[in-house]
Amino acid sequence: MSLADRILRLDRRIIFILVALGTALPLLVPVNLPITVTPRVEAAYDTIDQLPAGSTVLFSLDYEPDVSAELQPMTVAIMRHCFRKNFKVVALTLYPAGPGLVEPAIRIAAEAEHKVRNKDYAFLGYKSGFQTVMIGMGESIRSQFPVDFYGTPLDSIPVMRGIRNYGEIALLVNLTASSAADYWIQFAVGRYRKPMVLGATAVMATDYYPYLSSKQLLGLIGGMKGAAEYEKRMDLFGDARRGMDAQSLVHVIVTLLVILGNVALFASRRGTGTR
């Protein structure tokens, strides 16, 4: 059997071991490869950074555990940015498994920036029904969320004082892995003319580039790389930046294996005279 044939018959478990090593070693021994902040993430950062003092930022954190690896670090980084700027933060989720992730993320960001629940931020919890909630909030946030996640009536929460609907929201930040982004663009941006920044999983990021060009989105943060860029812009060293060494090494391994596989395939075909 030729070397090319041996490569083509390589046990896939060897590839799994290579990828596992490529993931674990950089986490154990970080080399801190440089990260460049792309214009899309820079635009998201600038949009938030340039909001007037005292602005209210609405976070719709529409994700579940399957994508928390990408969106959880993003939530913490963006929320810390808002807290540093002393903005009022109002967060909600449209996914049933969202509160279990969103609540700790807000707590981590708030504790890091010394912010207090109900005074500096509010977590409204989960509400079922994408479009109906988005449209309903345009009329009245209280009609959709009479009480917050902890059961406190919104009228009793100081940070919610004077916030009735989108009219009092300066910016919408949507972090999602689903079509929730499309609906927010349709209703909050299209109908209520709210500026919006999107944080998306890497899988769906390319689908939303056209909205950047049309200014329907003012910034786009894509996947763990986007989260790492935001952390760098914030001068933080969170989970996303810590994971980027592993991300780079695994990409190198995958690329080399793809090249090796193709070279072996061509060599094997040349040896047998097939096309």
Binding site: T23, Q186, T201, V250
Partner: protein, 215 residues
């Protein structure tokens, strides 16, 4: 004796680590540990979803208005409740017809909400962006590439005329644009999947084995 409150996080981490390793064991080959984790996930996810929807939908939107509301509220709650029950009633062949009333109501309402939003945000705003004047400098090159990509990809998906002559050339160029888009999308997908692996390995090395420092 160690209090439960102190032990709970440790037990949670160990259970999560055990289930993570059970799922990873599939990479070697299918085995009972993997199937145990898979079935446990499906069951617990379904149970969780049912409980959350019961607490967040049925109780506030149906039960409380019916039991504590005024007559008008009860009436307004009864109508969607009836429509919802009609949807479920189609499990009996006798009620297949009335079940369509509820579906027709739902489709009509949803279309009314969605069509205007979709047209405004996904069609008109995008068309307006595609035909706007080119910006100065390198932005013009980007805008021109975007416009060429738009027209050639439309040519590729336009099947009412044969793909010959100008349309044929446009369609072939459109394929190149599509391939570049698919490549970029696939590259992002690889990154997303690797991110999920990194998070799990981070969890195992940090939260479970304490080999790397906490954030």
């Amino acid at each position: 004796m160690i209090p439960w409150a102190q032990m709970a996080p440790t037990i949670t981490v160990w259970v999560a680590a055990f289930l993570t390793l059970c799922v990873f064991s599939f990479l070697y080959k299918d085995n009972p540990f993997y199937r145990f984790a898979e079935h446990l996930f499906v069951g617990s996810a379904a149970g969780y979803l049912l409980a959350v929807q019961y607490q967040n939908v049925i109780i506030p939107n149906v039960w409380l208005p019916l039991t504590t509301g005024k007559p008008v509220t009860i009436g307004l709650t009864a109508i969607p409740l009836l429509l919802g029950l009609l949807m479920v009633a189609r499990i009996s062949p006798r009620f297949t017809g009335p079940a369509r009333w509820a579906i027709a109501f739902y489709v009509g309402t949803y279309s009314g909400i969605a069509v205007t939003g979709y047209m405004q945000a996904q069609v008109l705003a995008q068309v307006a962006d595609a035909v706007k004047p080119f910006p100065p400098g390198w932005g013009a090159v980007n805008a021109a590439l975007g416009l060429i990509g738009l027209l050639t990809v439309i040519a590729y998906f336009f099947f009412s005329v044969p793909h010959k002559g100008v349309v044929g050339v446009g369609a072939r160029v459109g394929i190149w644009f599509l391939m570049v888009a698919f490549g970029a999308s696939f590259g992002y997908t690889v990154m997303a999947r690797v991110s999920l692996l990194i998070a799990r390995v981070q969890f195992l090395l940090r939260d479970w084995m304490h080999l790397i420092p906490m954030s």
